[in-house]
């Protein structure tokens, strides 16, 4: 399992290839989140971010038959179209890989301590949390 919170960009292809494994992996699902529309600064709580993401990835691994997980989340100054987050899940079959990947993203959005500040036309504003993100994460609790 690889969890990284970093300033630097990442290469999704490289990270996906790293999880190809030894023949037991039949499916790799990945998600890349990008900056939309406006430049932003991402602040985080160093230490806790890694802890929370690790907890979420472990939870996904206990729910589905997951072979390996990589999560990379950036912080700092980001421009439109920049990559923010990468989730890669390797599993035996696609259903498990897709589900675990979506679960990790949904929980990451409501639990990992990151905050976005958008910069537009000389002003900077903190992004407000969305109720739809809470609903997306709660959906998984109901399915238990």
């Amino acid at each position: 399992m690889k969890i990284s919170v970093q300033r630097d960009d990442f290469d999704a292809g490289t990270e996906i290839r790293k999880l190809a494994g030894d023949g037991s992996v039949g499916a790799i699902a990945s998600f890349v989140g990008l900056v939309r529309d406006v430049p932003m600064t991402l602040e985080h709580y160093a230490g806790m971010t890694e802890r929370e993401i690790t907890k979420i990835a472990h939870e996904a691994a206990t729910r589905w038959n997951v072979i390996d997980v990589t999560v990379i989340h950036r912080f700092g100054e980001l421009q439109p179209a920049d990559q923010i987050v990468l989730v890669v899940v390797a599993a035996g079959h696609r259903g498990e890989a897709f589900a675990a990947c979506e679960f990790i993203m949904d929980y990451l959005k409501t639990r990992a301590p990151f905050w976005k500040k958008e910069h537009r036309a000389g002003t900077a504003e903190w992004v407000e949390a969305k109720a739809s993100d809470d609903a997306a994460a709660e959906r998984w609790a109901k399915e238990e």
Binding site: Y45, M48, H73, K109, F114, A129, D133
Partner: protein, 85 residues
Amino acid sequence: MKVRLLFFASLREQLGTSGEEVDLPSEVATVAALREHLVQRGGAYAKAFGGKALVRAAVNQDMVQPSARLKAGDEVAFFPPVTGG
């Protein structure tokens, strides 16, 4: 009882500090009581922590409910609802 306070994002900006060391009176034993204690400071603290302000808390880097108990040496972080991903 001494604890380390940390503030993040809009809360950090509102308060003008990213954190401090505080020596709490013995009756301030939970996260909810600490929040109320900070409201009593007035000014920016009353605004940031009072009323319906949406503030989340973590103790030693684990998310907690307001009823969570505090002990000496804890790292207590306050922040707005998260917006990563």
